[in-house]
């Protein structure tokens, strides 16, 4: 019977107020975890003996990279739900997550460049991880462009879902090929990609920041999905009543 319950919340009309009620909770958690993570990362964690204070970029760089990969997988999950169960909300969730995922991919590249400059002496290295992150960013852009150019929302959801599933199958292949490529051309890059040896406080700082980004993602995805729901369900009675009250 719990199945039935889940599908009950999958109706946009019930999910809209639920997301609105839950959102402040996730905002609060994001701020809490973020503050704790930054305090650990900036004030408690010791200086790295090789990279000095420059390594502190890790506290945003690594969590942002994690989130960019995780969000793509979450989108693929919602896409699959959309294709299999034909639930409208899952398509909207996939679309609501996309800009945030692209943002984290961009932040990962940006902080990676700012980390690379002092450590490797260059803004960009064709390192396997950086290159895969760049391709992931392209995948996000492709998904958003596809969804934006289809007027019929149902077709947009489904086409986007197919693209996401193709992408999620391809990501390991892309990662493997890029890894292969970068080991063959090692002369071109500087092999200093090893992360600094982790102190416990560093690890905790990173985990807390990752949790904070995670909560942030949920909060902002809820807010965005609410906007999408209103737009798509504009002809229903409950949205009309809601708008009349507002």
């Amino acid at each position: 019977m719990s199945n039935l319950n889940l599908f009950h919340y999958a109706a946009p009309a019930t999910f809209y107020p639920l997301a609105g009620r839950l959102r402040p909770l996730f905002v609060a958690l994001a701020i809490l975890f973020g503050a704790a993570g930054l305090w650990l990362g900036l004030f408690v964690a010791p200086t790295d003996f090789q990279q000095g204070e420059g390594y502190r970029i890790i506290f945003v760089h690594v969590p942002a990279s994690w989130m960019s990969m995780f969000i793509y997988c979450a989108m693929a999950f919602w896409g699959a739900m959309n294709l299999v169960f034909n639930t409208r909300l899952s398509g909207m969730m996939a679309q609501a997550l996309a800009p945030t995922g692209a943002l984290f991919a961009f932040l990962s590249l940006w902080t990676g460049a700012l980390w690379g400059k002092p450590m490797w002496g260059t803004w960009w290295v064709w390192d396997a991880r950086l290159t895969s992150e760049l391709v992931l960013f392209f995948l996000y852009v492709g998904y958003m462009a596809l969804v934006a150019s289809i007027d019929d929302p149902r077709r947009a959801d489904k086409a986007g879902a197919v693209l996401l599933l193709v992408g999620v199958v391809n990501i390991p292949i892309i990662y493997f090929s890029v890894q292969w490529w970068s080991t063959l051309h090692q002369g071109a890059s500087i092999s200093m990609t090893k992360a600094p040896s982790m102190a416990h406080t560093m690890l905790w700082g990173m985990l807390l920041m990752a949790l904070s980004f995670w909560m942030y993602t949920i909060a902002v995805a809820f807010a965005r999905v609410r906007a999408i729901i209103l737009d798509r369900e504009r002809h229903t009675d409950w949205v009309r009543a809601l708008v009349r009250q507002a």
Binding site: L83, G142, L146, I150, V162, L163, V166, I174, S177, W181
Partner: protein, 222 residues
């Protein structure tokens, strides 16, 4: 079951024969792009030899992309695509036939022209052979993955640009192993590993991509 595939291949080849100009244009695009590079980077043979695997492979990739938007568009416009979708045979096999036909008219010619272009880049004989082989082996995967993009963007405004945005990131592995095979021949490592990975990509691409493309077509036409 494979009669469907053969029938679609035969039909598409016949249709392609009637518009040879399109195929010729994509092929010449490849030739011109490859010939522009020496004008851009200078004529030193060592530099050109180093660049040639990447340049020729990227050229082949872009040339394939030019012909992809028409993969389903003509059939969509004259309604024959809907007929094919109503047929009792699985749509995936129909798409497989179209992908094979696309490779025969758009991929294989690239492989045949590539050694001539390789000569312009001062490639030695064994590298020329590997170049031809790698393009012949890799382009079916390009056609297969491209079919997914062509299906998803069917009938959309600005479909051609959108198609390249969707598909080019997915072409990365094919590019790496294809150009890598030629590069490995040049540096004396031997191309076997690259070529077998490329063959694996092509087999996987031809097995799965047509069915994903078929799903995309159903979404686009419904």
């Amino acid at each position: 079951m494979f009669e469907v595939v053969l029938a679609v291949v035969r039909r598409d080849l016949k249709l392609a024969w009637r518009r040879q100009a399109d195929i010729g244009a994509a092929l010449f695009f490849f030739v011109i792009v490859a010939s522009l590079f020496p004008l851009g980077v200078g004529p030193e043979p060592d530099l050109l030899r180093k660049l040639s695997p990447g340049v020729l492979w990227v050229g082949a990739l872009l040339s394939t992309l030019l012909t992809l938007p028409r993969l389903f568009a003509d059939d969509f416009r004259d309604g024959s695509l809907e007929q094919l979708m109503l047929a009792p045979q699985p749509l995936g096999l129909v798409v497989l036939g179209k992908v094979i036909a696309h490779w025969l008219v758009a991929g294989l010619p690239l492989a045949l022209v590539a050694p001539v272009l390789g000569l312009q880049f001062d490639l030695p004989g064994d590298a020329l052979a590997v170049l031809t082989l790698s393009i012949a082996l890799g382009t079916p995967a390009l056609s297969g993955i491209g079919a997914i993009g062509a299906a998803l963007t069917l009938g959309l405004r600005g479909g051609a640009v959108l198609l390249s945005l969707l598909i080019l990131p997915l072409y990365v592995p094919v590019l790496i192993f294809g150009a890598g095979a030629v590069d490995a021949t040049l540096t004396g490592l031997g191309p076997q590993a690259h070529l077998s990975l490329l063959a694996a990509l092509t087999v996987a691409g031809l097995c799965f991509a047509p069915f994903a493309a078929a799903a995309g077509l159903r979404i686009a036409v419904d």
